[in-house]
């Protein structure tokens, strides 16, 4: 099983979630993060002093899937999250050794 992690622009969350639901992905865990990358932050003004806000708000989605679904999930996310502008974000794929559903004790593919 794999964990697909996508760091995306916050306002794309709804679209990506819907696109994933369409391909049958119904489980995911989401968190707000701050991103630092090529996309530069905006500058703010406070009492006559300007300063740059470095870290930009991003959303991180974590979706654990069976190996055979990885490619489709990636493709779906890329399509739904892309705006073409800098800062669209990244997808990271890593390995998951074991999954347990707390409620039932089911494991691995059954627990997804």
């Amino acid at each position: 099983m794999k964990r697909v992690e996508a760091v995306i622009k916050p306002f794309k969350l709804e679209d990506v979630k819907d696109a994933l639901a369409e391909i049958g992905i119904t489980g995911m865990t989401v968190s707000e993060v701050k991103g630092y990358g090529r996309q530069k932050g905006h500058s703010e003004l406070y009492r006559g002093a300007e300063y740059v806000v470095d870290f930009l708000p991003k959303i991180k989605m974590e979706i654990v899937v069976d190996d055979e679904n990885v490619e489709q999930v990636i493709k779906t996310i890329v399509e739904a999250a892309r705006t073409g502008k800098i800062g669209d974000g990244k997808i990271f794929v890593s390995d998951i050794e074991k999954i347990i559903r707390i409620r039932t004790g089911e494991t691995d593919s059954e627990a997804i």
Binding site: P10, V30, S31, E32, H42, E44, L45, E50, P57
Partner: protein
């Protein structure tokens, strides 16, 4: 001491008391609107509230007052108190506009409109209805009764807002194919605080509009005006709560507060004339109208984040009519005529002015700016920078 001196002193003091209450409505509107918009637009909404108070008041002091009333004199109480009392009203009608177009309106064009409305449009309406009355003896003469401005302030603000909504358009992403996107209020305690500052300010608004407290009769009138004002607010809140509970088994607090404000607007036209029980009815109907008007305007794709149309326009009209319905000495036709004339005048003039300003300075922030939030784009200062935003 001469009786006239006594009256002069008392009425000046009473007017100052009323002014103070009305000016509590400045933070009142500010908190209400800051609580109802999303966190990314809060500084901008607040900046607009301050700007309106500053620009509209100064415009009225320097230009508008003379248009409305012709001269600065007053013999029954201090001229300064009378001027300031009238000045305290002007911002309110513009606040109605700004509230309804918040979360996408830009500050510069709105400031220009504020100046024009404070210096010319609102004073002209006052001139017709309360003031020097340049239409006297023409067939357009307005003989409507309107104690403290159900029409003159609230409908006027409402009509101007309607014009503004047509020019400015809705917030990014608000009306989508799959339906209306719900955008909840971000800070409910601020909404409550703001609503109650408005509520208390209304005592000065309506009570002060009686014009004098310095005789036994007028003291009674002022007190009755204030208790009636309050009663209509209570009933507006109750009915909104009851309707929401019947339909959804939930108490939507923002609707309850809008209901209360609707009742307050409605009673404003004749709070001094009603007996103790009529305001109950006026308030119930006023609050009920709000509950039905809010989703209706959404159906019409008039995107009004704070419910200003439902509270001020709908109830401004209802309140003006109610005076004609419940008070025998007031002609319903005169009320209707006033409503229509003020509506036609304010809507068309505002539309033209807004349209022209919009040619030079776009009112509506572009989608990207709305996405980032008006705070960053217009103010450079976020409202809650240390608070982490939820998904």
């Amino acid at each position: 001491m001469l009786e006239t001196d006594f009256k002069y002193i008392i009425d000046t003091f009473f007017t100052l008391f009323s002014i103070t209450l009305i000016i509590f409505m400045v933070p009142g509107f500010a908190m209400l609107e800051a609580g109802l918009v999303r966190t990314k637009n809060v500084s901008a909404v607040l900046t607009i509230n301050i700007m309106i108070y500053a620009v509209a008041s100064l415009a009225f002091l320097l230009i508008g007052y003379k248009i409305a009333f012709g001269s600065l004199d007053s013999t029954t109480s201090s001229m300064w108190a009378v001027i300031m009392f009238q000045m305290a009203f002007v911002g309110k009608s513009i606040n109605i506009v700004s509230g309804g177009v918040s979360e996408r309106v830009r500050i510069i064009p709105l400031s220009i409109f504020t100046f024009i409305m404070g210096a010319f449009i609102y004073p002209t309406v006052v001139n017709f209805s309360w003031g020097a009355d340049m239409l006297r003896d023409t067939f357009l003469d307005i003989k409507m009764y309107d104690l403290a401005g159900s029409s003159v302030i609230h409908s006027t603000g409402g009509w101007a807002l309607l014009a503004a909504l047509l020019i400015v358009g809705s917030r990014r992403g608000r009306y989508q194919e799959r339906g209306v996107k719900v955008i909840p209020a971000s800070n409910i305690p601020l909404v409550v605080l703001g609503a109650f500052l408005l509520w208390i300010g209304w005592f000065g608004f309506n009570g002060g509009s009686v014009g004098s407290i310095s005789s036994v009769e007028s003291a009674d009138l002022v007190a009755k005006t204030i208790i009636n004002t309050n009663t209509a607010g209570l009933c507006g809140a109750i009915i909104a709560g009851v309707i929401m509970y019947i339909r959804y088994k939930l108490f939507d607090i923002t609707m309850i507060l809008n209901g209360a404000l609707g009742g307050l607007v409605a009673v404003t036209a004749a709070a001094n004339l009603y007996d103790m029980y009529t305001p109950i009815l006026v308030g119930f109907i006023g609050g009920g109208l709000v509950v039905f008007a809010v989703p209706l305007f959404d159906k019409l794709k008039l995107d009004d984040p704070v419910g200003a149309l439902s509270v001020h326009l709908v109830n401004g009209i209802w309140g003006t009519l109610a005076a004609g319905i419940f008070i025998p000495s007031i002609s319903l036709m005169a009320q209707l005529k006033g409503i229509v004339l003020i509506g036609v005048f304010t809507f068309s003039v505002s539309y033209i002015v807004l349209f022209i300003i919009n040619k030079f300075f776009k009112f509506r922030a572009d989608d990207e700016a709305q996405l980032m939030g008006m705070d960053i784009n217009e103010c450079g200062v976020e409202a809650y920078p240390e608070f982490k935003r939820a998904i």
